[in-house]
C-alpha cells in the first residue's frame, strides 16, 4: 500500500494489516462531541487483540466503523488493505460479508432459522466465502457441520430452531457463523457477557483456537479486563481515544 506510510513502515507488504485505522474521527448524527477520535490503530493479520473500554466509550461504534456499516467523518479505515471509504455502499456491504465475521453480545441468531441455516446465512450473502470453501474442497453444509463440531455443537443441535438453543449454544453458533468461509477478521462484541464466568473462559478459548486455525485476526471487545488472558495484545480504548502518540499498549 504505497499511499500509506504505516503499511510500508511495518514491512508487512506481503500481508496487509487486518485492520488499520488512521486519524479516524467519528461523531453520531446529532451528538455534540466526537464519539471516537483515534490517531492510529493497527491489527496485523492473524493477530488476536483484546479491546477494552467502559460502557458507552464507543466500542460498538468502533466495530460498526470496522464493518463499514457507518463511515467516519475523517480518517481512513482499511480492512485487509482495502479502504472502506473507497468502496460504494453496496460494495462495502459485500466486502463486509466476504471479509469480516461478527459475534454480538446477545441475540446473534435469526430465531426462525435452524442453527445450521443461521451458520449458512453468512455464505448466502458472501460469494467469496463460498468460493474459499469450494477451493478448500468442501461445501458450506459440510463446513458448517465441521465448525459446529469443533465448537462442541452436536449435529442434532444444528437442526433445532435457534430460539430453542441455550445462550451458550447460541453464542457458539454465532462463532461458527463468523468463522465459516475463513474471513480475515472476526469481530466479537462482548460475546460472553451473557455467559457465566466458567463458560466465558471456555468460549473465549474456543474462539481463540478457531481464529488461529482459520488464520483470522480477532478483535475482541469487552469491558471486562479479566477476560484478557490469552490474547496477543490488550488495548484500552480510553488510551487510544484522542491519543496522539503511539497506541501500541503493552500486552
Amino acid at each position: 500500500m504505497p499511499d500509506h506510510p504505516t503499511e510500508t513502515a511495518s514491512g508487512a507488504a506481503a500481508e496487509p494489516a487486518a485492520v488499520l485505522l488512521d486519524a479516524l474521527r467519528y461523531r453520531w448524527p446529532g451528538a455534540d462531541c466526537d464519539c471516537l477520535n483515534i490517531a492510529t490503530l493497527r491489527i496485523a493479520a492473524g493477530e488476536r487483540v483484546f479491546l477494552r473500554g467502559p460502557s458507552g466509550s464507543g466500542k460498538t461504534t468502533l466495530l460498526s466503523l470496522v464493518g463499514g456499516v457507518i463511515l467516519p467523518q475523517a480518517g481512513v479505515v482499511r480492512i485487509a488493505g482495502q479502504s472502506l471509504a473507497a468502496l460504494s455502499a453496496g460494495a462495502r456491504d459485500r466486502f463486509r460479508a466476504d471479509h469480516v465475521g461478527f459475534v454480538f453480545q446477545l441475540f446473534n441468531l435469526l430465531p426462525y432459522l435452524s442453527a445450521r441455516d443461521n451458520i449458512l446465512l453468512a455464505c448466502r450473502f458472501s460469494p467469496q466465502r463460498r468460493a474459499r470453501i469450494a477451493v478448500a474442497g468442501s461445501t458450506p453444509e459440510a463446513e458448517a457441520t465441521r465448525l459446529a463440531e469443533r465448537l462442541d455443537l452436536g449435529a442434532a443441535l444444528l437442526d433445532r430452531p435457534a430460539a430453542a438453543l441455550s445462550v451458550g449454544q447460541q453464542q457458539r453458533v454465532a462463532a461458527a457463523r463468523a468463522l465459516i468461509g475463513r474471513p480475515g477478521l472476526v469481530v466479537a462484541d462482548e460475546p460472553t457477557s451473557a455467559l457465566d464466568a466458567e463458560r466465558q473462559q471456555a468460549f473465549i478459548d474456543l474462539l481463540l483456537d478457531e481464529c488461529a486455525a482459520a488464520g483470522a485476526a480477532l478483535l475482541f471487545v469487552s469491558h471486562d479486563q479479566r477476560l484478557a488472558g490469552h490474547f496477543d495484545r490488550v488495548l484500552d480504548l480510553a488510551t487510544i481515544h484522542r491519543a496522539t502518540g503511539s497506541m501500541q499498549a503493552p500486552a
Partner: protein, 431 residues
C-alpha cells in the same frame, strides 16, 4: 434477492398466527369487494335482460322511462291508454312478427293484474332469451268460448308463494291499484272470482309479482262498471258476460317483436310519428340501461364501501408488519452485519407484506368462488339473480390490480421503516 425471499418465507412461517389472521382479513375484504362487483354486474345484466326478445315496447305518448316502468315493471300508471285500432294497425305492419297487448289497471292484494293474450307466455323472454316456465298448471285460455274460461288466472311465483295459493284456488280481483287488504271494499270484483289455472316458476322479473289474466277477463269484470265504479243497480252474473262484446276498446301497452332487428329504428320512428294517435315506442334494452344508471347510484355506493373494507384490511396488514418491526430490529442489524444491503432489508419487508397481500387475494378468490358455488342456486331460486361463476371479468381484474397496487404501496411502509432503521442503527443491536 434469493436469500431475501427464503428469509421472508421463514419469517412469515415463524409468525403463523398473526400472519394467518391478517391474510384472512385481507381475503374476506377482497372476497367482499369482488363479490359486490360480480353481483353488481350480474344484477345489472339481469336487469338489462328483464325483457329480452322484445324489440319495441309501445304505449301512449310518454317519456321512455315512464313507459318502461308501467309497461314492464308495472310501476305507476299510464296517463293514457292506446286504442285497439292502433294495436290492430301495428300488428298489421309488414315488419311486425308478433304483438302482445298488455292491459293494466286491476290488482290483487297489492299485486298488479296484467291482462294479455296467451301469446304473452310464448313471447315474453328474459335473461338469455329464456321463456317463462310454468311451475304448475297451464296458461289461461286464449279467446275463451266458455264463460268459465274467461275467469282464469296465472300467478307469478312470488304471488303464489306469498299467499300460499294453489291450482284451483278462487281469488277476487280489485279495481285499480288501491284494492286489497286496506283498500275500499267497493273496489272488489267480488261477484266475478277467478280460478288459478297456472303458477309460473321464478324468473327474477316483474312477472313474479304479477297475476296474468286474459284481456277478455279484464273486460268481463268491467261490463257492469263505468268510470271506475260499478254502475248502480246493474249486476251481470259471470255466466252471462259472454253475451257482451269482450273485445277491449283500448289497452295500456304492447310488446312488439319484429321479423328483423334491423328494422327496429324505422318501425320506432313510424310509431312515434303515427298520425292517428300519439304513441311512444321504446327499445327496452336501451331504456333499461338508462333506468339502471338512475338506480345504479346505490350499487356504486356499495362498491365504494367494500373498497373501503379492503383498505381497512390492508391497513391492518401494515399494522401487523410494522408492529413486528420493533421486535425485529435486532434481526435487521444481524442481517446488516452479515452483509445484507439496506435495499435487501427493504426487499425483505416489502416481499413479506406483498406475500401476505397475494395470499390474501388468492384466498379471497377461493372464498369468492366457494361462496358463489354454494349460494348461486339459492340466489337463483329465491331472488331470480343469476350469479355467474366464470373467470373474473375486466372490471374484476381491474379491481384486483388496484388491490395489488395498493398493497404494493402499503408494503412500502414497513419496508421504508426497516430501511431507515438499518441505516441508523449501525451495528448496535437494539433489544
Amino acid at each position: 434477492m434469493s436469500p431475501v425471499f427464503t428469509l421472508s418465507l421463514h419469517s412469515i412461517a415463524n409468525r403463523r398466527l398473526s400472519v394467518l389472521l391478517t391474510v384472512i382479513a385481507v381475503a374476506l375484504s377482497v372476497a367482499l369487494l369482488l363479490g359486490v362487483e360480480r353481483l353488481r354486474n350480474d344484477a345489472k345484466a339481469g336487469f338489462a335482460q328483464t325483457l329480452s326478445g322484445t324489440d319495441l315496447v309501445v304505449g301512449a305518448r310518454s317519456g321512455p322511462v315512464q313507459l318502461l316502468l308501467y309497461a314492464v315493471f308495472h310501476l305507476g300508471s299510464a296517463t293514457n291508454n292506446m286504442s285497439w285500432a292502433s294495436i290492430e294497425h301495428l300488428a298489421a305492419l309488414p315488419q311486425v312478427q308478433w304483438l302482445v297487448p298488455i292491459s293494466l289497471g286491476d290488482s290483487h292484494r297489492g299485486h298488479r293484474v296484467v291482462g294479455s293474450t296467451a301469446d304473452f307466455f310464448a313471447h315474453y323472454r328474459h335473461g338469455d332469451r329464456r321463456p317463462l316456465r310454468f311451475a304448475q298448471g297451464r296458461p289461461f285460455e286464449d279467446k275463451p268460448a266458455e264463460a268459465a274460461g274467461i275467469f282464469e288466472v296465472v300467478l307469478g311465483a312470488e304471488v303464489a308463494a306469498r299467499f300460499g295459493y294453489a291450482l284451483g284456488q278462487r281469488i277476487v280481483l280489485s279495481h285499480g291499484s288501491l284494492g286489497g287488504e286496506g283498500g275500499p271494499r267497493f273496489a272488489d270484483h267480488a261477484d266475478k272470482p277467478f280460478t288459478v289455472v297456472g303458477i309460473l316458476a321464478r324468473s327474477g322479473t316483474p312477472v313474479d309479482r304479477a297475476l296474468l289474466v286474459s284481456l277478455e277477463g279484464i273486460e268481463a269484470i268491467h261490463v257492469d262498471w263505468h268510470g271506475g265504479a260499478p254502475i248502480p243497480g246493474l249486476r251481470i252474473a259471470p255466466e252471462h258476460v259472454r253475451k257482451f262484446d269482450l273485445q277491449p276498446k283500448s289497452v295500456t301497452a304492447a310488446l312488439v317483436g319484429l321479423k328483423s332487428r334491423t328494422a327496429v329504428f324505422r318501425v320506432q320512428r313510424q310509431i312515434n310519428t303515427y298520425p292517428d294517435e300519439a304513441l311512444t315506442a321504446i327499445l327496452p334494452g336501451a331504456t333499461l340501461q338508462a333506468l339502471w344508471s338512475l338506480v345504479g347510484i346505490a350499487e356504486k355506493a356499495l362498491l365504494a364501501v367494500s373498497a373501503l373494507v379492503v383498505a381497512v384490511g390492508l391497513a391492518g396488514m401494515v399494522a401487523v408488519v410494522v408492529a413486528s418491526l420493533g421486535e425485529r430490529r435486532r434481526e435487521l442489524a444481524i442481517l446488516r452485519a452479515l452483509g445484507a444491503r439496506p435495499r435487501q432489508v427493504f426487499a425483505l419487508l416489502a416481499v413479506e407484506s406483498l406475500l401476505l397481500a397475494l395470499a390474501g387475494i388468492a384466498l379471497g378468490l377461493v372464498l369468492l368462488y366457494g361462496a358463489g358455488a354454494a349460494f348461486a342456486p339459492w340466489l337463483s331460486s329465491a331472488h331470480g339473480l343469476q350469479l355467474s361463476l366464470g373467470w373474473p371479468g375486466v372490471g374484476e381484474w381491474r379491481l384486483l390490480g388496484a388491490v395489488l397496487a395498493v398493497s404494493l404501496l402499503a408494503s412500502l411502509v414497513p419496508a421504508l421503516r426497516a430501511y431507515r432503521y438499518s441505516l441508523a442503527d449501525g451495528m448496535t443491536i437494539r433489544v
